[in-house]
Amino acid sequence: MAKDCGLVTMTNSILSIQSVKKSFGGLDVLKGINLDIEQGKITGIIGPNGAGKSTLFDIISGYQKANEGKIIFEGKDVSALMPHLLARQGVIRTFQLTRIFRNLTVAENLLVFSSNSKNQKGNSNERAIEILEFVHLSGLANAEASTLSYGQSKLLEFAQVLMHSPKILLLDEPFAGINPGLIDQMMEHLRKLQSEGLTIVLIEHNLPMVAKLCDSIAVVSNGVIEMHGEPDVIVNDSRVKEVFLGGH
């Protein structure tokens, strides 16, 4: 039932979700998701609450196993991989509810993820410092993460994912609860990263924001991709407008 609105030419699909189905108990959450994510582009995923967007992220990143279907990343079938293995392949995600290491300092939150190879120990400190400056958290480097405000912890999580040099970033509602000035900054960062080759997929409820940022938008509803196309087309679709009415 996936409709193709507008023209989205798949030149280079880095992530391919094929016929993924997932149910919990008796509830069918995902009823057959087919989605190709184009490399180097920013794809937005929107949909009503409970449509299964986060579940889809869980399945892509290995936290849940699909009942049916496959996840193909860079040409390899990764459906069965555990989350940490997928992370090492470069699939990094964030969570709706910010997840950081509360009892470690801000700096340690990043150092935990310094590169796996042993001889880069010196570099990892440098890199952590760079990233902390990038997200304007340098002053709090030695503060315990539990003392951060909501916005700061979201930034910290963002900094953590940057430590990994991800190949694809899955962001689950990254802008929720952040003040607009900060949102603009984060969007700047995302665009900068994209220009360096990063693929980004994000779930968001704020329709205008998604339209501004994304190269293409997929609409998840009733457990399937109802539409997938360019922002102008999607945003002006009458059904979408009806459901979202200007966003969150």
């Binding site: 869980d58 290995g62 936290y63 849940q64 196993k65 555990m82 989350p83």
Partner: protein
């Protein structure tokens, strides 16, 4: 001969079911490991013993007092000691019930000494014939009593308003909170009921078993096996599991080795933990 082994296994199983069902309730609702369950059993037994000693009444007649006393104790423990640490990391909850267990158990040891005590009820050691099998009256009372209480618990959880609230909290405490249920109070009531059930078990037990400070230790740990084996939140499961374990243990003790009979249960426990496919394994996210 086998029949009598079976009967005493059923008695043991009945006790396990009661203690286990109480623990199941606590574990399922409040989501904490209550290490003090066995100690509470012992406390109930001593409570009944002292009432018998001071008032001279029959042990079975202490039931209402013990149940009320244990319920109050449980309510207090939850409200004063456990509710405050619920927001903290998991350590505190685990270790605090452990501390409570240590206190109750060794407090009893320190205060009342290690001597074994016992009570005698009016039924004494009478037996009666049941389809040709000799059963002790006290054994029959224990088995029947356990069955009745477990059934009452089941009815309570499913048909009463508070029971429904308890089930709501055990499944989704956040939603229950939003629905206006006083979650902390439900926790306290769950702990109270869990303790009361242990109180019933202790009253049913003491005409048959000896009373001593460490008597509860074994039951406390086996209660966890009952919970794991029977399935979280599953009252009927707890009943079946308890009976199964009691009968198994007794048969093993008589026919193979008394010493190892308890170890066998722990082995069943470890095996269950490792291979039981549902219930405790349903997690939101797989990680390891």
């Amino acid at each position: 001969m086998f029949a009598s082994v079976l009967v005493s296994g059923l008695v043991l199983g009945g006790i396990y079911s009661l203690v286990g069902a109480g623990l199941n309730l606590i574990f399922g609702v409040i989501k904490i490991i209550n290490f003090a369950q066995g100690a509470l059993l012992m406390f109930g037994a001593y409570l009944s013993y002292w009432i018998v000693t001071w008032l001279g009444i029959d042990p079975y007649l202490t039931l209402p007092l013990v149940v009320i006393g244990m319920a109050l104790l449980g309510y207090t423990i939850q409200t004063a000691l456990i509710n405050p640490v619920l927001k903290q990391e998991r350590t505190s909850q685990l270790l605090i019930t452990f501390g409570i267990a240590l206190l109750i158990q060794n407090g009893a040891l320190a205060l009342w000494g290690p001597d074994i005590r016992f009570v005698k009820s009016f039924v004494g050691y009478n037996t009666f014939a049941f389809f040709g099998i000799r059963i002790g009256v006290s054994a029959a009372i224990a088995i029947l009593g356990a069955a009745v209480i477990i059934s009452l618990l089941f009815i309570f959880l499913n048909k009463s308003k508070m029971g429904t609230a308890i089930r709501a909290v055990s499944q989704q405490s956040d939603s229950a909170l939003l629905a206006g249920i006083d979650v902390k109070r439900v926790y306290a009531i769950a702990f109270a009921i869990g303790s009361a059930m242990v109180g019933v078990a202790s009253v049913l037990m003491i005409p048959i078993y000896d009373i001593f400070p460490l008597m509860g230790e074994q039951f406390g740990v086996i209660a966890f096996i009952v919970v794991v084996l029977g399935g979280l939140g599953n009252v009927q499961g707890a009943a079946i599991a308890g009976v199964f374990l009691g009968v198994t243990q007794n048969i093993f003790a008589v026919y193979v080795s008394n010493q190892l009979s308890v170890a066998v249960l722990f082995l069943i426990f470890l095996i269950t933990l490792l291979f039981r496919p549902q219930g405790i394994f349903i997690r939101k996210m797989r990680v390891a």
